[in-house]
């Protein structure tokens, strides 16, 4: 963290001169603010940030950041961000995307970026709806949701972002709520420091087309009881006074319990291990749904592994060391040639 002293930024330094045009009350405002707060803490010079987005409300994000930015086309931000990072691994590359952009039209690029473990940070704004096209169901909409394109309710199962990330061999997955700026900021910092693809699912509210979709767990009065903020090395307790917790039942499934009941003490409560390579428990945590469970927030999984961008660079450097061909003239003259005259 020595570098943090060198770059004394404030969040304002990351604000562009563009007027922010999201709807008043949209969760995106809070995400923008959390990200700008997080960047200040990273000790990375401003010119090394690149924000890449696809299409959707959230994808306007780069215009509001005073960094390098590329607002691209629907679903393709993961591929473009992969190109940026591979071309220049020195950059801190952030992909801004939504549930439609990343999981529907861009699903293929999303899973392959994760599989390659390319060192980009993907912030996935999940409001379970298509907002920019004015209210159609998305791949994360709850089954049965009535929207303009599902007037009788959807008949399809939604994706769970965490499940998909872990299934695609993801090494970093975190979840936060748009309105929790302190938690979000902390998560963005951890995501940025993680080497490899980091996916952060932001439970984000669309005030116009899916208002209150996350209220069941996010409202102030209930959020302590209905969410579990995971911290590595800490017991998985939740509730206003940490009076609830998670235990492993029969090695197979998680169970939410009350401390003090049925002889359960803090000793019985699971301790979060985000660094465990085996994703078994992290997978169960990522999939917890209210009301059976609290919804897990925080860094659920954070495992080290070789990154694509550095592996590409190292392979090139390794081959260059012993290569006979050093420049184009060498290549042009290599192999079978013959002279005339």
């Amino acid at each position: 963290m020595a570098e943090t002293q060198v770059y004394k930024y404030t969040p304002k330094d990351f604000k562009s001169d563009q007027e922010v045009r999201w709807c008043p009350g949209c969760g995106d405002h809070a995400v923008l603010s959390s990200v700008q707060k997080a960047l200040v803490e990273l000790g990375i010079p401003k010119e090394r940030f690149a924000f890449i987005s696809g299409i959707g409300c959230s994808s306007r994000f780069p215009y509001y950041m005073n960094t390098y930015g590329f607002h691209s086309i629907h679903g393709r931000a993961a591929a473009i961000a992969s190109g940026v990072k591979t071309a220049n691994p020195e950059l801190s590359v952030w992909q801004i995307t939504g549930d439609g952009d990343a999981l529907a039209i861009g699903g293929n690029h999303f899973i392959h970026a994760i599989r390659r473990n390319i060192d980009i940070n993907i912030i996935l704004f999940n409001n379970e709806i298509y907002g920019l096209t004015k209210g159609q169901y998305s791949p994360t909409s709850t089954k049965g949701l009535v929207t303009k394109t599902s007037p009788f309710g959807t008949v399809e199962e939604p994706f769970s972002v965490g499940e998909l990330v872990i299934g695609a061999k993801g090494k970093f997955f975190a979840r936060t709520i748009d309105t929790n700026i302190a938690l979000s900021t902390q998560i963005y910092i951890e995501a940025a420091k993680h080497k490899g693809t980091s996916v952060i699912e932001v439970l984000q509210n669309c005030v116009i087309f899916n208002d209150g979709i996350h209220d069941t767990i996010a409202e102030k009065e209930v959020r302590d009881d209905r969410t579990l903020i995971l911290k590595h090395g800490q017991p998985m307790t939740f509730g206003k006074n940490n009076e609830k917790g998670l235990i492993l039942e029969g090695c197979r499934r998680l169970k939410a319990v009350n401390l003090g009941e049925d002889g359960i003490t803090e000793k019985n409560i699971l301790v979060h291990d985000a660094f465990e390579p085996n994703p078994g428990i992290q997978y169960m945590l990522a999939n917890m749904k209210y009301p059976e469970y609290p919804v897990a927030l925080g860094v659920i999984r954070s495992v080290d592994g070789p990154t694509y961008d550095i592996s590409v660079q190292e392979q090139i450097e390794g081959i260059k060391k012993t290569a006979k061909i050093k420049c184009m003239d060498d290549l042009l003259k290599s192999g079978s040639t013959w002279s005339v005259g």
């Binding site: 010119e47 590329f70 050093k326 420049c327 042009l332």
Partner: protein
């Protein structure tokens, strides 16, 4: 190695090696052409293989061929009709019978002309007589049994023994053309460095074929092709895909940039990705993407980050890349998209050639979305045009679509190796670091290219994207601004015409007919036009490499001829394009849509008919 009874000196000769797709015909043809090139012949080759890796054995659909045209004089095409056909099975004869010259030589593997195989190829009993080939020089060589005999003491399994049949056939052809075996023998020693038994077996089969040909003497007359008189220099054989890949690498070196290719395998473009993936020694970053879209999008990301970015594909893949090309037009980022055309639509004939993606290249995107379109015209000039495509993309900050085709991609010819010092330096318009605030869409007055500010440079932070912008870089929905920007982007592409060479005419600058072509038909058109000129006709050729923008002198060139005939392997796309761009002329057309190149005769017949109609009319 023995005497030659009688050798006929020839200007040129065409040999076709043909067999089952597992018979190793591509290797056989390649070894023969490399040997011919080292001897000093000019040559042109064309592999012709089925889409299936192993189509049903013995069927016509599974025939794989490799044609070599070599000569003492300049060779511009792989040739239409073959002087020598090597047919490893009846299906190979069936597939090629109509392409044998009258009196040509046919060498076939007698051992493979079994009743079953003859039937499978669609013959009744005697393929030679059923094809009316009795008057040809037909050699029924017991190739299968001869290799079995020659290798009986080498302890190889029967399958490995039969796999050397192609080398026996190659040995025969070497004798026929009085060629040395050394290059091929060296090749096997290198290839089977760790399997000396296999190296030896192939060499034994090769020599057995050579001696067999000598012994039977049925192969007379043998052909003698003297070395060609070609310009001084160092040469190598190169195919279009490799030349394209090398052109990009040369451009990266001349621009001082890293080269990035994001791509997805697709026939017949895969060779470009493969060649660049192998060049880690020169620092090439190759990204085999999850699909065609990610191929171009990773490249576009790399371009944004400051690399020379390219992507390679073929027609169906170009369809998938359309939206991202639009983004590149809007973001004004340099990128080269190579489309190695194949016969479409849809999957079409994936291993066959066509020139039917021209309209797609020019117009196949939403909105007013012009890109520079360039077409290579010979396997070796793919290097030059890949270099030029990259140079224009980088210096003008625009996507460039480079058209090659299956015929160029796989065809080879000797290429005089350039020296890097003779190639021009490439100067991308990098943003001035002191120009703060940086305005991403501010452009120079000459080329109208915007400046390129690469992430990592302090003070030049900026945002670009697919939304319409003002020239200051802010998003704008103002109607007049949109029209202004659309016209500006079009004008930027038009201004590339200021620095491309004028259209050249092969032959007299005026006459009865101007044969017009573009891209890969060049060799055939040139050969046909030369022959017509030799026969006294006033026919000239103009072949286009720069399609959008067109060279500035088109009108001057066209106006000197009574008739213009546009020849292309599609239904007339370039002719239609010329009708839009140069309405003052009328255009006749010669079109072929068979997945095959033109033959010289196709072109000559068309011209002669026009000349006759002219006289009569």
């Amino acid at each position: 190695m023995g005497k030659k009874s009688e050798a006929i000196e020839r200007e040129e000769v065409v040999i076709r090696f043909s067999g089952d797709s597992g018979d190793g015909m591509q290797l056989t043809g390649t070894l023969f052409s490399d040997t011919a090139a080292l001897f000093g012949n000019d040559l042109s080759t064309f592999p012709d293989y089925p889409a299936e890796i192993r189509a049903p054995q013995g069927t016509v659909g599974g025939v794989s061929g490799f044609q070599v045209h070599l000569g003492h004089s300049e060779i511009n095409t792989p040739g239409d009709f073959s002087d020598v056909l090597v047919a490893m099975n009846p299906a190979a004869l069936k597939a090629n019978a109509k392409w044998i010259k009258p009196g040509g030589t046919i060498i076939y593997d007698e051992g493979n002309f079994t009743e079953k195989n003859i039937e499978k190829a669609g013959y009744k009993k005697n393929p030679i007589s059923e094809e009316n080939l009795e008057n040809h020089n037909v050699i029924a060589a017991p190739i299968s049994s001869m290799v079995k005999e020659a290798l009986k003491d080498y302890g190889l399994d029967p399958k490995s023994v039969l796999r050397t049949k192609n080398m026996f056939a190659l040995g025969m052809v070497y004798w026929l053309f009085d060629r040395k075996l050394k290059y091929t023998e060296d090749y096997f020693e290198k290839k089977f460095r760790n399997k000396p038994g296999m190296a030896e077996a192939n060499k034994v089969a090769l020599r057995a074929g050579y001696y067999y040909a000598e012994t039977i003497e049925a192969l007379t007359p043998t052909y003698k092709i003297l070395p060609a008189e070609i310009a001084k220099g160092t040469y190598r054989n190169i195919n279009g895909n490799t030349a394209t890949a090398w052109g990009f690498m040369a451009a990266a070196e001349k621009a001082g940039l890293e080269l990035f290719i994001g791509s997805y395998p697709i026939t017949p473009a895969t060779g470009i990705l493969e060649e660049l993936a192998a060049r880690k020694d020169l620092g090439v970053k190759s990204f085999q993407a999850e699909d065609e879209i990610a191929g171009i999008c990773t490249s576009l990301g790399a371009s944004f980050a400051g690399n020379l970015a390219v992507t390679s594909t073929s027609g169906p893949g170009l369809s998938l890349k359309s939206e991202a090309i639009g983004l590149a037009v809007m973001a004004e980022l340099p990128i080269v998209i190579v489309n190695v055309q194949r016969a479409g639509p849809s999957t079409g004939l994936p291993t066959k050639t066509e020139q039917a993606d021209l309209m797609q290249a020019l117009y196949g995107r939403n909105g007013e979305c012009p890109v520079v379109v360039i077409a290579s015209s010979t396997p070796s000039d793919c290097f030059h045009f890949a270099f030029e495509a990259a140079r224009i993309a980088l210096e003008h900050m625009t996507p460039v679509l480079l058209l090659s085709d299956s015929y160029l991609a796989n065809g080879t010819e000797p290429w005089r190796i350039p020296e890097m010092k003779d190639l021009p330096k490439i100067n991308p318009p990098f943003a001035d670091r002191t120009e703060i605030p940086f305005l991403p869409y501010k452009r120079d007055n000459d080329k109208l290219a915007r400046s390129w500010a690469v992430p990592g440079i302090p003070g030049l932070e900026h945002r670009i994207g697919g939304l319409e912008k003002t020239d200051k870089g802010t998003v704008s929905y103002v109607p007049e601004n949109h029209e202004y920007m659309v016209r500006l982007r079009a004008e930027k592409v038009e201004r590339v015409a200021n620095e491309i060479p004028g259209l050249e005419v092969y032959g007299a600058k005026s006459g009865d007919i101007l044969v017009v072509g573009w891209g890969g038909s060049y060799g055939y058109l040139l050969t046909a036009v030369r022959e017509l000129q030799d026969e006294g006709h006033k026919v000239s050729l103009a072949n286009f490499n720069f399609i959008n923008p067109l060279p500035k002198n088109v009108k001057n060139v066209f106006s000197q001829f009574k008739k213009i005939v546009v020849c292309e392997l599609n239904m007339g796309q370039f002719a239609d394009y010329l009708r839009i761009k140069h309405q003052e002329f009328s255009y006749e057309q010669l079109n072929k849509i068979q997945g095959l190149p033109f033959t010289i005769n196709d072109i000559k017949e068309k011209c002669i008919k026009i000349l006759e109609d002219n006289q009569n009319g």
